[in-house]
């Protein structure tokens, strides 16, 4: 019955098209069009301080950017922030998940508390960290003092500013890794752990040799999301340090914000945005292919 077959196929094809169309049209108009605008702007000297003139400057923005110390400084700061913050979050998150897994039935409210840092409005959390970081009246130096640790300048000094921001990111996002790993552990059947314990392996050995490898897919995905988001971090840096003191915490994101939104030089800022976009897309693709995750292909 080839004729009937094609009618069914045709009905199915039009169904697929109609269902995908709304999302596709919106994403095309709101991501692809802006993207093309960005690419175009990045080859011009367009600035909103003089919106009536727009001149084609070729690759000048890109060559200026790649030869500027500001860019490489920002790239270095972004890399340190991303890797150190996500590294600490992973170690803490996995560690606490391992402990919490056995405990969660007794204390389900712990999960709610752990949810708060990542769900609360980040600007509000950032504001309270600003109070706590205050070098003279802040509560953190007071508590450190009680423990006999000498006070820190926190966000006020270039040496400690980036670490302070990492601390806030760790506070905010460790629970994310924690919840994902915990969910993963709950979804895994317990038999391999039980077998390993019966064979006389201690809990540490069991965790690292049996549980952790089985958690890899969950952890990989959590890491991917965290790396992307940490690379994109804006709120806490903008509010706590604005990229300072000096340029000590000026990440690529803040640099692009400064050129684009503060100086209104859209051409140059677009070039920077395109460089960041290409970097994330390439890194994201490599990460995805490597892990064979997100395999939507049939």
């Amino acid at each position: 019955m080839p004729l009937r077959q094609t009618t069914i196929q045709r009905a199915e094809r039009s169904f697929i098209l109609w269902m995908l169309a709304p999302a596709t049209i919106l994403m095309l108009s709101l991501t692809l069009v802006p993207f093309l605008v960005s690419v175009y702007l990045s080859f011009t000297d367009y600035s909103l301080t003089a919106p009536e003139t727009i001149n084609w400057v070729g690759l000048k923005n890109y060559s200026d950017l790649l030869s500027s110390a500001d860019f490489w400084d920002a790239a270095r700061i972004t890399t340190i922030f991303t890797i150190v913050a996500v590294g600490i979050e992973t170690v803490l998150g996995v560690g606490i998940a391992a402990l919490l897994h056995h405990e969660v039935r007794q204390a389900p409210w712990l999960r709610v508390i752990y949810l708060l840092p990542m769900a609360i409005t980040p600007i509000a959390a950032t504001f309270t960290f600003r109070l706590m970081f205050n070098p003279t009246q802040g509560v953190l130096n007071h508590l450190l003092g009680l423990a006999g640790v000498s006070p820190s300048a926190w966000t006020a000094a270039p040496e400690t500013a980036l670490l302070s921001l990492i601390l806030v990111d760790v506070w905010q996002w460790t629970p994310f890794i924690l919840l994902i790993v915990m969910g993963g552990m709950a979804a895994l059947p317990p038999e391999p752990e039980e077998a390993s314990q019966m064979d006389g392996a201690g809990p540490f050995r069991t965790f690292f040799l049996v549980t952790l490898p089985r958690l890899k897919p969950y952890l990989a995905l959590a890491l991917l999301f965290r790396l992307i988001d940490a690379f994109k971090t804006f709120d806490i840096i903008f509010v706590l340090t604005g990229g300072g003191p000096g340029v000590a915490t000026r990440t690529l994101n803040l640099l692009a914000y400064k050129y684009g939104i503060e100086f209104l030089s859209m051409g140059y800022a677009s070039a920077l945005a395109i460089v960041m976009l290409v970097f994330t897309l390439v890194a994201g693709q490599v990460f995805l292919r490597r892990l064979g995750l997100f395999d939507l292909k049939d």
Binding site: F15, I16, P34, I113, L116, I123, A124, D298
Partner: protein
């Protein structure tokens, strides 16, 4: 064995971590209950007679209620629109195979990888030309763009776990694809849609950068309003904390009420 399974040590670590998670929120509420002088005390005060004067003062500020109104419009509008656009696409990705499916999925996901400024600058230029700056619609569309990929990603997983049998039975009864989706699948998927909608509402409510740049005086959301307070009065800690507390109380209630949905939404994407 002894160390790792020692219940008390384990609990101690978990409670210490819980205190660490909750301390900044505790501190902001505590500061809000101090007099301006107590708030600046050295060393910082933990025990004192609380005052509600700061709250009484900021509650009368009409700006705060305007921020709530803007945030509610933007978060409700964008979460509903994101669901309406995302659910059909997610269903197709979960149930049908077609040429270019993987690329389509990656393309949607790539918008999540895009650094916000890479989207913000063209948005700003386009909105400037189209007159969409400082409008609710403009911010709603921007938030839909930010969150659509998350919705598709989460719901795709949810749809693929629904049993096919009921849908198949309905299509044998003569329902076409659209009828099956609207009458059978959507009602079955309601719990998932609600969870994801709640998550998107919160993400949109909390979003700062786009709201800061694309909004201005007519559309100022809670995070942007809060940022304005911080910028203007750096000294008035007690009063600022009261404003900040007032602005996050609804969020905390929201989190407590919908914690199950949020945990599911925030972590659901990882279990595929």
């Amino acid at each position: 064995m002894k160390v790792f399974t020692s219940v008390w040590l384990r609990r101690l670590i978990l409670y210490v971590f819980a205190v660490w998670c909750i301390f900044p929120l505790y501190w902001i509420f505590l500061t809000a209950l101090k007099t301006p002088i107590q708030a600046m005390a050295r060393p910082p005060l933990f025990l004192f007679e609380p005052t509600f004067a700061n709250f009484a003062k900021v509650v009368g500020n009409p700006d705060i209620w305007a921020y709530f109104a803007s945030s509610t419009i933007v978060a409700a509008g964008s979460s509903l629109l994101t669901l309406a656009l995302g659910a059909p696409a997610a269903y197709i990705l979960a149930r049908y195979s077609f040429r270019g499916r993987g690329d389509f999925g990656f393309w949607l996901l790539s918008s999540r990888m895009t650094p916000p400024v890479a989207m913000l600058i063209p948005f700003f230029v386009l909105y400037y030309q189209l007159g969409l700056l400082d409008t609710h619609l403009g911010l709603i569309l921007a938030h839909v763009t930010l969150n659509l990929s998350i919705v598709v990603w989460l719901l795709r997983g949810f749809f693929s776990e629904l049993p096919r049998e009921i849908e198949e039975a309905a299509s044998l009864d003569g329902d076409n694809h659209f009828q099956v989706f609207a009458r059978i699948t959507l009602p079955l998927a309601m719990p998932g849609l609600i969870s994801v909608g709640i998550l998107i509402f919160l993400l949109s409510w909390n979003e700062f950068l786009f709201a800061l740049v694309l909004g201005d005086s007519a559309v100022r959301t809670v995070p942007v309003g809060l940022y304005g307070f911080i910028g203007y009065q750096t000294i008035a800690w007690a009063e600022l904390s009261a404003s900040a507390s007032l602005l996050i109380i609804p969020v905390i209630l929201f989190i407590l009420v919908f914690q199950r949905h949020l945990i599911r939404g925030l972590t659901m994407g990882a279990y595929r």
